[in-house]
């Protein structure tokens, strides 16, 4: 699977990151998508029954919401900083604000708060109906160099 480095290199040149997401099995498992608006990126977790945790509510599994946010942050860093490899997660702090309802799409946007040469701090917001009604917020540190 060494060709991921090449996929990444090509993506940095063409600014087309679809093949990168396509090469990450976990992204395909949960169904992550993204859309770029100039320098902004919005990540999307489409409604998918396989992502549901509690079937009675129903709600997207909290772990999937977290995984989606964590992966969004890593991809955001890839796109913004042209990193040569997948950023490595160091720690992750997640606040659940309301249930992410099943049957609905979930969205996320990221903000790089501080970036040193080796570590980046990213804030992630996830929502369903309205951007300012977050279902969860998170903060993560990533190592940029392998």
């Amino acid at each position: 699977m060494t060709d991921f480095t090449d996929i990444l290199k090509t993506a940095h040149q063409t600014r087309d990151y679809d093949p990168v997401v396509g090469a990450i099995p976990y992204a395909n498992l949960i169904g992550l998508e993204f859309q770029r608006f100039g320098n902004d990126v919005i990540f999307k977790l489409p409604n998918n029954e396989d992502n549901v945790g509690n079937p009675i509510l129903p709600a997207v599994h909290g772990g999937v919401v977290g995984g989606f946010m964590e992966l969004s942050a890593a991809l955001h860093l890839l796109m913004m900083l042209d990193t040569p490899a997948m950023p490595k997660i160091v720690d992750f702090s997640l606040d659940y604000l309301r249930a992410a309802r099943g049957g609905k799409d979930t969205f996320a946007e990221c903000q790089v708060i501080r970036q040193g040469s080796r570590v980046a701090n990213v804030i992630i917001n996830a929502w369903q109906n309205k951007r300012d009604e977050a279902v969860a917020t998170a903060r993560a540190h990533f190592l940029l160099a392998p």
Partner: protein, 165 residues
């Protein structure tokens, strides 16, 4: 096993209705009122870094959230579904590919409104953790849990020491 250990049975039934846990293949290894171990098999589908074959942190987040949440059910005197308030994870070392991952969870404080849990993710040796996690859960009362869901998870078990008041 689950017949003489109600904690095991409750944990197994709870996990069995969480769709995404079935997708990931999460199973209950051991359960008591004090601790709980879940197992996650390795799968190529869980990979987050195609260069190393290391599984994505999100899979581990789901494992930890589920382990702590299931532990909460076994730590409470009556069945009560508690939403996660927050979850904090340190990824101490990368998980080794092609090996199962375990999450050992405990509820170290049950208060009137909040249950405090922690969990260690490892691959066979708890002294060499892959990740450490603390998570808090809000108690919203057993009356807030939908009865049909309660029935599925509690099954025929009676909760010890409670029943008669």
């Amino acid at each position: 096993m689950s017949e003489n250990n109600p904690y095991q049975g409750r944990a197994e039934r709870f996990i069995s209705v969480l769709r995404h846990c079935q997708v990931l293949g999460i199973t209950v290894k051991e359960a008591s009122d004090k601790a709980l171990t879940l197992e996650l098999p390795y799968s190529e589908q869980h990979v987050g870094n195609p260069m190393s074959g290391v599984i994505h942190g999100g899979v581990i987040t789901t494992l930890m959230d589920t382990a702590c949440g299931t532990m909460v059910i076994n730590a409470l005197p009556e069945f009560e579904l508690c939403p996660t308030l927050d979850l904090r994870v340190d990824y101490v070392r990368a998980a080794e590919p092609h090996k199962p991952i375990y999450a050992l969870a405990e509820a170290y404080r049950v208060s009137r409104n909040v249950v405090f849990t922690r969990c260690t993710v490892h691959q066979g040796d708890t002294n060499e953790p892959v990740a450490n996690c603390v998570a808090t859960f809000m108690r919203i009362g057993s009356h807030m849990t939908p009865p049909d869901f309660q029935k599925i998870v509690v099954g025929d078990d009676t909760y010890p020491e409670q029943g008669e008041k």
